[in-house]
Symmetry: C2
Subunit: 179 residues, 2 copies
Amino acid sequence: MRYAMLAGETGDWTIDAIRPVRGAPLGEAPRLQVVEAERADGLPAQWRLDGVVSNIRYATAHEAAALRARQEGLGRPEARRAVLIPIAKSAAWWALAQDERRAIFEETSHHTAIGMEYLPAVARRLYHGRDLGEPFDFLTWFEFAAGDTPAFDALVARLRASAEWTYVEREVEVRLSRP
Amino acid sequence: MRYAMLAGETGDWTIDAIRPVRGAPLGEAPRLQVVEAERADGLPAQWRLDGVVSNIRYATAHEAAALRARQEGLGRPEARRAVLIPIAKSAAWWALAQDERRAIFEETSHHTAIGMEYLPAVARRLYHGRDLGEPFDFLTWFEFAAGDTPAFDALVARLRASAEWTYVEREVEVRLSRP
């Protein structure tokens, strides 16, 4: 399923801050909404990012089962904070074979294992944009209670310090809240 | 890069036969062309299938190097035959974890290893459609000299006999030629 993230005048989420982490930033806007892409055409937006929820790319059956056992869905009533992190990786990353990317992603950078430590507090949903010709390869959506903001900050700092992140060419952090 | 396969009145390739292998067929048409998707909008077509050339999904670095060493590109002057095989796999396939799909694809079904045996005679290009919301998950384009048609027939028969193919829900075979 293809979704669109629309930044503009309307949306359930208030944009508290847009922080460029690496490369070109995104423009300021007051609010954000996530809608099915076919419903987004024609809606006004200051910017729009699309992505599809797709199949697992790196996790093993064992890892996927561990994630399913611990994770919770989006939309929990207590989850009043969200962060959208759009990322583009380099051509060098995409030219790697599957086993080389997997080794950097998990055996070296422990991407899944780190994320697991913050479950169920920090719920996560991944959207893929690269094959759509979008400017970002991934849109990752994190959702958590306000009190879990320090845990989220630690999670994202650990990932940014990993070997995998040396392949990240563009990254923006969009901090969101809802009342 | 996103491409469109357009079946209709025009195109370099003559459609010699369209054979439904499993599931719903595709309509008859005289000719076929492959164009960049953004150039295809508005062009008349009896049917259109889109796909993107994307990164490697299963091959290891060792396998990818072996493929690069043996394979040749599309468009060789002697390659007057082509076959387009659109395929959709089942929800059960896409629900598998990465290691489970890899094991069926290669360790059990020897997909890459079988294809390698027919290089460089049978050139191949893979287009991904699933994340685009297309009816087919993959469009595979094979190109070879007329004299290598029996080799192609053996290649595709071996793949269809594999464990991987038990996950194929829809498949069509479009036989093409150019003078």
